[in-house]
Amino acid sequence: MALRDISKYLRLDKFPHIWCPGCGNGIVMQSVLRGIDKLGLDQNKVAVISGIGCSSRAAGYLDFNTLHTTHGRALTFATGIKMAKPELTVIVLTGDGDCSAIGGNHLIHAARRNIDLNVVVFNNSIYGMTGGQFSPTTPLNDIAATAPFGNLDPPFDLCELTKAAGATYIARSTTYHATQISNFVIKAIQNKGFSFLDIITQCPVYYGRMNKIKDAVDMLKEQRDNARNIKQWSILSDEEKQGKFVIGELHNQPRPEYTESYQSLIERHIEKRQPSPKSEERETKSREE
């Protein structure tokens, strides 16, 4: 089946992009665009917000209302935009370091509010742009530029984290499972509330090289071999889960969305201040009495 042309969503004059050969970021970006394309969203009504890092450069290549913010804080800007213009579809492109280290506080609080933001994490388990330091998702004992003797920091499971914090739609996929990413993007955007997609992607240049994985293809094969869909995962023993990870739709539980709650607060408040004709009548009467 021929793939649909999605070049209208790209700022082609800004290419070539900055990503290294073999990087998975392009696959994630393309999958997000395919999801948007399937939904047929108006480009003028989509805002794409990013933080700092390799992943966050994606926003600049996309032909929407785009905002490249400060390190870790994309969600705060996105919150302001969504509050000011709830009619916009707001997508946040971020990395594992960006959203869960320096931006970890913003992540849990945006999830807690259940504000209608769609977060896509390009999770490559490394700080790529600064040269391969370990991140909050680097597995234990892996090698990184700042963990030359092996990483001592236990990693976060970002899906469990955002679930505990209150996100209403959560899914995980990998760059090997690109078409699945697009499907999750569609469901995330359709969810009225905070949606979180943890996309495992490969950084062959830093993560792969330092951890002796030959190239990008080998990294993709590892994703294929180690990913277990949620049905398979549920019957695995703890021992069998070692070195594997779960992919699929992990959480989908709607609850009231923040900007909608605020809108009804506005409506209640404005209503309360405008006296109904009846109460005015009553007032006149009592004054006459």
Partner: protein, 381 residues
């Protein structure tokens, strides 16, 4: 709740923080993002109460940085936005003040100064953030900093702050202090119809949306500003960027942008300036002050029969005005609740033309007129 009278003057008895709320709403502010901190909380509380009734929105964010992040986001979506904080929070705001300066996003930051450094004196006044307001965020950037000396000026200068931020596409800081913030005074709020409110200039009707260049501007002007969601699809970044808003590290583009950010402020100086010099004839001494300290300094000056200068715009510093003043007098006293932050600037500008003497306090107490008077007299003025 509606605003105060549209055609009549309204008399109110307000504290400084409440007057900031009234000023912001009158200026058209319809979004507040912030974090609770003493002694600025009445501003957040006032906005939380008033905004929904006006169709505006308030959000209490998870931290100070997030507060200004949300404000910048809302402003990019077309809504005039405010945050308010104090010392420790102002330190945290610096990251996004720099972003707003670089990306040219209008917004207003109120800093109700309290004693520092660090947690310092949460409930007591100081003026220790004068230099931080100028240089707190990294890199070469211009600053506009206004400082009220009364409740009425809290109202007026909040409006001025919004007008300048919209006109020049830049963050504007209102540097209040704990005394002004919590002091209650009778004020006359002018009818809204009498207020001059400036809104950001949008791209003209004939601008081609396809080839829109969000950062194209003359060398000493801000660019026009389209709002997100209105058909202009453009990129905004905190990186050095070209006219298209896309990152660049070209030396020419970098230099052009940094110079333009400064020149647009310099070119608008006559709108920004705020200094009042009162110098009786044949008077050879003057006292310069700002914020709550100005109130006591003025009292002391009247008693000592010397001139007085009130600065309601601290940055950009009124270099020419103060240099001219230095030619006319022998002594310039600078009274401030810090160890001489603005005195250094007065000294630099006076360039030896007049003797510059600091009158300072850092004990968390408003300076008493008597103490200032005695300092003036001890120097024979």
């Amino acid at each position: 709740m509606s605003l105060f009278g549209t055609t009549n003057t309204t008399t109110r008895f307000l504290q400084g923080n409440e007057a900031c709320v009234e000023g912001a709403l009158a200026a058209g502010c319809r979004f507040f993002g912030g974090y609770p901190i003493t002694p600025s909380t009445e501003i957040a509380e006032g906005m939380a109460k008033r905004l929904p009734g006006l169709g505006g929105k308030f959000i209490q964010m998870e931290d100070e940085i997030a507060g200004l992040g949300a404000v910048i986001g809302a402003s990019l979506a077309g809504v005039k936005s405010l945050t308010a904080t104090s010392g420790p929070g102002f330190s945290l705001k610096q990251e996004h003040i720099g972003f707003a300066a670089m990306a040219e996003v209008p917004c207003v930051i109120i800093n109700v100064q309290r004693g520092g450094p660090s947690t310092g004196l949460p409930t007591l006044p100081a003026q220790g953030d004068v230099m931080q307001a100028r240089w707190g965020t990294h890199g070469d950037h211009p600053s506009i900093v206004l400082a009220p000396t009364s409740v009425k000026e809290c109202f007026d200068l909040t409006i001025k702050a919004f007008n300048l931020s919209e006109k020049l596409r830049t963050p504007v800081i209102l540097l209040s202090d704990e005394v002004i913030a919590h002091m209650r005074e009778k004020i006359e709020l002018p009818p809204t119809s009498a207020l001059k409110i400036i809104d950001r200039k949008k791209p003209g009707f004939f601008v081609n949306k396809k080839n829109y260049k969000p950062y194209a501007a003359k060398d000493n002007e801000p660019p026009t500003m389209a709002n997100y969601g209105e058909g202009f699809r453009f990129n905004v970044t905190g990186l050095i960027h070209d006219e298209t808003g896309f990152p660049s590290s070209s030396p020419e583009i970098t230099e052009k942008l940094i110079y333009r950010l400064h020149k647009k402020i310099e070119a608008a100086y006559k709108d920004i300036r705020g200094s009042e010099i009162t110098l009786p004839q044949n008077c050879r001494a003057v006292i310069l002050s700002y914020g709550s300290t100005f109130r006591t300094a003025k009292r002391a000056a009247l008693d000592a029969n010397i001139g007085y200068v009130k600065l309601t715009t601290i940055w950009p510093f009124p270099e020419q005005e103060i240099r001219e003043l230095a030619r006319k007098v022998d002594i310039i006293f600078v009274a401030e609740m810090n160890l001489g932050q603005l005195r250094l600037e007065v000294e630099r500008v006076a360039g030896g033309l007049a003797k510059v003497i600091g009158i300072n306090s850092v004990n968390g107490q408003l300076m008493k007129p008597r103490a200032i008077f005695e300092e003036i007299k001890s120097h024979g003025a």
